[in-house]
């Protein structure tokens, strides 16, 4: 079914108005040798009823295991109101708000979103979103190169405690413009960047330092010291942060021993991250959205759309896209980025989510997730053969070490309907057999007990074998 409304009479009347005998004539400018007879390789049409059955069956195949994986995508409770509103036709099937008078709903929502994200990160300005956290990090590095006039090297320092996929994506997205990414090693006991890791760069021309907080292992870095080190050397700081954690943790705009802008210090220059945790379901990795906030002095280097408030011809306040001269449809080859479509629908969901949570609710979510993870890791590490890998404060995920390879253990758990965590051996083989585990407010004590006893069984079986 192609949702085509025309009757035969409509078609005849339209063909007459155009002055052709049949629809095929309308394609007469296409060289005959290129024309297709039909589309082999595409199956026959299905009715909505038929495709409905197919999809229900496929979904059933995947099931709903109990999930203890984090690693950049987090399961949180999403109030029903979030997607009831977001899938309203007026939001769902609206276009980019280029005709401002016909899009005040979307534009005002984006203005409210920008306000919330700027405040959450303690920065001065936000854009209306980028594709996801990983590509946002790439865009932030490109932005840092444009913004840092005092550096010519295009060298970006990136700790290996930054999410491995983020590092690969940033390279793919920004590598073709002469950026050089240099990786900083981490301390395998602390799971963080060690105090001396930056010393060898003293006196060198570095454009930006990327700091992820919490880092990929869930550990908390010494962001104040890192930020101060960078700023003392005219190096811009790109913060990669988890938005839920910002309800509890010091936001990037206030990093630095002096407490950021409000206390005479400097804070990060650009903050980005993955917005999925704010009302967007896991959905196998997308669609998500990347957020980007920054200090006002960098606003003209910011990629993506930005909404501003202004007055209309009658003196009323209204909203419109602004600073568009930086964007691809005007600046073309010299645009700040080629980004056109962003992630509007997901931003809508996040704005509704943040409005329902408010500052107190978001703090509860962060605290509850942290408490659950501590409870889980406490119980898991009481099992023989399981230990905490890193000492030091963490947010809502932690790395645990096992006394045997992780992959077969995860397989056994999966067979029991439990996704026990992420096997760290692919990206961090130096840690030995290890898992990254996460429990959010969605996990009950019974869920965690289920995991712990399943793991105990698996470990016992293997020992007996």
């Amino acid at each position: 079914m192609a949702f085509i409304p025309h009757t035969r009479e409509d078609v005849e009347s339209m063909l007459a108005a155009i002055g052709v005998a049949g629809i095929e004539q309308l394609f007469d400018e296409i060289p005959a040798n290129l024309r297709l007879a039909g589309l082999a390789g595409v199956p026959e049409a299905l009715s909505e009823m038929e495709v409905g059955r197919l999809m229900v069956e496929r979904a059933r195949l995947d099931g709903r295991p109990l999930c203890f994986i984090g690693a950049g995508a987090y399961e949180h409770h999403i109030p029903a109101a979030v997607w009831a509103i977001t899938t309203r036709g007026e939001f769902y099937s609206a276009y980019t708000p280029y005709q401002a008078e016909a899009s005040q709903g979307t534009l005002q929502l984006l203005y409210e979103y920008q306000t919330m994200m700027a405040s959450l990160t303690a920065m001065e300005v936000s854009n209306a979103s980028l594709y996801d956290g990983a590509s946002a990090m790439g865009e932030a590095c490109l932005m840092a190169v444009r913004a840092n006039r005092r550096s010519r090297s295009r060298r970006i320092l990136v700790p290996t405690t930054v999410h491995p996929h983020y590092r690969t994506t940033a390279r793919a997205v920004a590598g073709n413009q002469g950026l050089v990414f240099e990786e900083l090693p981490y301390c395998t006991e602390e799971g963080c960047i060690p105090a001396g890791a930056l010393d060898r760069y003293d006196g060198e021309d570095i454009t930006a330092l990327v700091i992820q907080q919490p880092n990929f292992f869930g550990r908390l870095e010494d962001v104040d010291a890192l930020c101060d080190w960078a700023h003392a050397r005219n190096i811009l700081v790109v913060a990669v942060v988890n938005p839920t954690s910002l309800a509890l943790l010091k936001p990037p705009g206030e990093w630095g021993a002096q407490g950021g802008v409000n206390k005479g210090g400097k804070g990060a220059d650009i903050a980005v991250g993955e917005g999925q945790a704010l009302g967007v379901p896991l959905s196998s990795g997308g669609p998500y959205f990347g957020f980007m906030t920054a200090r006002m002095e960098h606003v003209r280097q910011m990629p993506g759309r930005i909404v501003g408030r202004t007055l209309d011809a009658a003196g009323r306040a209204g909203f419109t896209l602004t600073l568009q001269a930086r964007e691809q449809h005007i600046r073309r080859a010299k645009a700040t980025s080629n980004i056109c479509t962003n992630q509007g629908l997901l931003v809508t969901a996040a704005t509704v989510y943040l409005s329902l949570m408010g500052p107190a609710g978001l703090e509860r979510v962060a605290a509850a997730a942290r408490a659950r993870t501590r409870e889980l890791v406490g119980a898991l590490t009481r099992l023989p053969g399981v230990r905490r890998l890193f000492r030091g404060p963490a947010f809502h995920e932690e790395a645990i070490g096992l006394d045997r390879a992780a992959a077969p253990v995860l397989e056994k758990l999966a067979a029991r309907g439990i996704l026990g965590g992420l096997d760290l051996s692919e990206h961090y083989p130096e840690l030995g057999p290890a898992l990254l585990v996460c429990a959010t407010e969605t996990k009950t004590s019974a869920d965690m007990e289920c995991y712990v006893s399943a793991l105990a069984d698996c470990l016992r079986e293997a020992r007996a074998a």
Partner: protein, 129 residues
């Protein structure tokens, strides 16, 4: 009808150039250019001391519908960027050849091809509708 003062030189990319008594040169964009851009909202001028070659972009002028590079007609060292444009970019719209000057520089040599007022008038007549 664009204003094309007879005591200035021009470029194909719509910059004007005025030689000052002390030997430095003042540069801006023409009346034709400011009209095409519309109301200017933001202007970025170069820092003092910056060295430019002929034809190198040295400033950006931004309106709601366009953001354009401005090219240096001549090689030299920047002695001043117009500080007033940060607060009042519209000075370029209202007074392109006066208060709307973009930068002054001390020339160090080669100029790119410069046009006389008559040649510039011919250029914009050909470009226009």
């Amino acid at each position: 009808m664009s204003n094309v003062p007879s005591d200035l030189k021009y470029t194909k990319t719509h910059e004007w150039l005025r030689t000052l008594p002390d030997g430095t040169v003042e540069v801006g964009i023409t009346d034709h250019a400011q009209h095409a851009l519309g109301d200017l909202v933001f202007v970025e001028v170069p820092d003092t001391g910056r060295k430019l070659s002929a034809g190198e972009p040295f400033a950006v002028v931004e309106s709601v519908k366009a953001a354009s590079d401005v090219y240096s007609p001549i090689a030299g060292e920047v002695t001043a960027g117009n500080p007033g444009l940060a607060a009042q970019p519209e000075a370029i719209n209202s007074d392109a050849y006066g208060k709307g000057w973009l930068m002054r520089l001390r020339p160090s040599g080669a100029a790119a091809a410069l046009l006389s007022p008559a040649e510039y008038e011919k250029l914009i007549a050909e470009e226009g509708d």
